[in-house]
Amino acid sequence: MKHTISVLVENEFGVLARVAGLFSGRGFNIESLSVAPTLEPDTSRMTIVTRGDDRILEQITKQLNKVISIIKVVDFTDEEYVERELALVKVTAESDSRAEVLRIVDIFRAKVVDVTPKSYTIEITGAPGKIDAALVLLTPLGIKEVVRSGPVVIGRGSKGVSN
């Protein structure tokens, strides 16, 4: 089963390697990982998407909690949360397909962020499933390049994850 985990970490030397090494060393799988500092400059927040049965997930959270530089681990799977991902997509757009690309952009409430006579670069945000759907529609038109951020998540409601 897919799990999305938020990890608050000390923003210090080697912390990303500790987390990545833990996953590879113990044979856990990382589907995506995104990381950036929080409002407090000494703290970063990672969002990790992983897969595994209950036993594996229990080990993943316990092993993460054991890492000294990790402050807090929250598995959002059984919680209500908002999940968003950003994708930048460079699509071939020459005379006959330009209108079609724009129609798709419109449907997915995406944005054109760069234009050339031969291409559009578009920005799509949303749940990963929405991005997948947009890519399916854009593929026949000719995708030159795509880059995805991996999802970030935040819990619903007024309570926040903090240290």
């Binding site: 000390e10 030397f13 080697g14 090494g21 036993r55 080990q59 092993q63 054991k66 000294i68 402050i71």
Partner: protein, 565 residues
């Protein structure tokens, strides 16, 4: 007054109570060694950095204090890795300080540069690269705190050369503040209460004790618990000395080379109480056959040990000494239940006695050739009560666990988790440094001994009277045993064709060497060795193709033991 980084390091070590460090100098730590020259801290110069780490490990296992190592950058640092991984697998508190190239050169493939923090990340509890002198006192404080608290383990501090020579005003922090590290100490009282209930209800209980019990100094509480309820105790390799081997409730070791009665008791019990034990595959054999009829309680300091291998019915996380103390307190309030419990478990103890009588631990004695087990029995008989035993890895290690009767906690040092050949001699060295007046004996094999034999020089230099007993079968015996049993006796690369003159080897270093191949001389040799006031190497030429039994073949349940070779 300003101090340099290297002076700050040594001053901090002193404030942490460090009296002895083990190490080896080099360019990237030359400043530290210069300051050591005037320091009250004693330094033991081993002949290899791996040995320095094992020695600090031996020091830590016997004393319970943090072992400390200093090594230079690059090859010095990489040489420590096996020692660190050994300590990590067995949860031994240790701080390793490595020199590093100057910060400005890090990443340039500078001379003797190695990314030791990267290399040791998976085999340390934590590690630090010091990038700013101002962080150094805090990092040392944290390193010692992390190493000795919670589930102990090795912590490495990588100290670049420019930081060793920079200077600042020194203040050692009194406390640590780490957002990500707050080990649990006391167990949950309600969970402990439930454990007490389960134990009082059981009709066929067994205590399964691991290295955690030694690390937490919980041996006295364990003994009380066992005696109070008359529960049989089986120990892992790591906990052989945590429960007296000759105690009537002792079942000895369980697992792959465990006793028949320990393995049967675990298989047939209705309650298994794991105390600081982690269900290692060498203990459990085929996991779905392990303690199948039992409810399982697990006491452990490390939450990640719980439900890792096997789903337990009742977990209690906490320091074992604290948890067992409160368990005993709760049990003490129920004297009646305890008498009922002792009565309702008496049939179980009889059943176990039956197993003990049916297949006691033993071996085929011989008058013509020295049996390795016989040497261990004699060492056990002739050594002092508080003798410290170390081992290498192989058959001799298993025979030591099976036939030596341990009498006191922290007297059996062996590489259980990693299984590191070459561990025993330097570990004995470290133990002897910690306890100059106790007997320290390395039970060794001819193969393992050669992995760190250079440490004979260190023993002689520091007048450390370690006694070494090599059970020489002229084989990498444990591997040979597997080849005999599972590979049609195809002894591929397990016979070291060249016999070594171990007596001359000892003498070359200035130690005493004794050797025999006669059964009748075994006792004399041991007595003589114990009388010598210095390091002695005893070589016993033993029967070459002896096997360690019982043995649970790979993939079998632990009740499916092979009982005769």
């Amino acid at each position: 007054m300003k101090l340099t980084g290297s002076q700050i390091l040594l001053e901090s070590l002193r404030l942490e109570g460090v009296e002895t460090v083990f190490g080896y100098p080099g360019g990237a730590v030359i400043n530290i060694y210069d300051d050591l020259y005037d320091s009250p801290i004693k330094h033991i110069l081993t002949r290899h950095e791996q040995a320095a780490v094992h020695a600090a490990d031996g020091y830590a296992r016997t004393t319970g204090e943090v072992g400390v190592v200093i090594a230079t950058s690059g090859p010095g640092a990489t040489n420590t890795v096996t020692g660190i991984a050994t300590a990590y697998m067995d949860s031994i508190p240790m701080v390793i300080i490595t020199g590093q190239v100057p910060t400005a050169l890090i990443g340039n493939d500078a001379f003797q540069e190695a990314d030791i923090c990267g290399i040791t990340r998976p085999c340390t509890k934590h590690n630090f690269l010091v990038q700013d002198l101002r962080d150094l006192p805090r990092m040392i404080k944290e390193a010692f705190f992390i190493a000795r608290t919670g589930r102990p383990g090795p912590v490495l501090i990588d100290l670049p050369k420019d930081i060793q020579v920079a200077s600042m005003k020194f203040n050692y922090p009194e406390t640590v503040k780490m957002r990500g590290y707050k080990p649990t100490i006391d167990g949950d009282e309600r969970q402990i209460g439930k454990a007490a209930q389960m134990i009082l209800k059981a009709k066929r209980p067994v205590l399964y004790v691991g290295g955690g019990a030694s690390l937490a100094n919980a041996d006295q509480e364990l003994l009380k618990l066992a005696e109070l309820l008359q529960v049989p105790v089986t120990t892992t390799l790591m906990a052989m000395a945590a429960f007296p081997g000759e105690h009537p409730l002792s079942l000895g070791m369980l697992g792959m080379h465990g006793t028949y009665f320990a393995n049967m008791a675990v298989t047939e019990c209705d309650l298994l109480v794991a105390i600081g034990a982690r269900f290692d595959d060498r203990v459990t054999g085929r996991i779905d056959a392990f303690a199948k009829k039992a409810k399982i309680i697990q006491f452990d300091i490390d939450p990640s040990s719980i439900h890792k291998i096997i789903r337990v019915d009742l977990p209690v996380v906490g320091d074992l000494e604290s948890v067992l103390t409160s368990l005993l307190r709760q049990l003490d309030e129920k004297p009646q239940d305890i008498s009922i419990q002792i009565e309702q478990t008496s049939a179980w103890r009889k059943e176990i006695s039956g197993w003990k009588a049916k297949h006691p631990m033993g071996y085929q004695a011989s008058k013509s050739v020295i049996k390795p087990q016989y040497v261990i029995e004699k060492l056990s008989e002739l050594s002092n009560r508080d003798a410290i035993i170390t081992t290498e890895v192989g058959q001799h290690q298993m025979w030591a666990a099976q036939f030596f009767k341990f009498r006191q906690a922290r007297t059996f040092l062996t590489s259980g988790g990693l299984g590191t050949m070459g561990y025993g001699l330097p570990a004995a060295l470290g133990a002897q440094v910690a306890f100059p007046d106790r007997q320290v004996i390395d039970i060794s094999g001819d193969g393992s001994f050669q992995m760190n034999s250079q440490e004979l020089a260190t023993l002689v230099q520091y007048r450390l009277p370690v006694k070494i007993a090599i059970l020489n079968n002229n084989f990498l015996g444990m591997v040979r045993q597997w080849q005999q049993l599972f590979f049609d006796k195809r002894y591929s690369q397990t016979c070291m064709e060249l016999p070594i003159d171990f007596v001359k080897l000892a003498e070359a270093y200035g130690a005493t060497g004794l050797s025999t191949d006669k059964v009748d001389d075994v006792e004399t040799v041991i007595k003589k060795a114990f009388e010598v006031d210095g390091p002695v190497l005893m070589e016993f030429k033993v029967s070459r193709e002896e096997n360690v039994i019982p043995m649970v073949p790979a993939g079998k349940g632990i009740h499916e033991m092979v009982l005769a070779s």
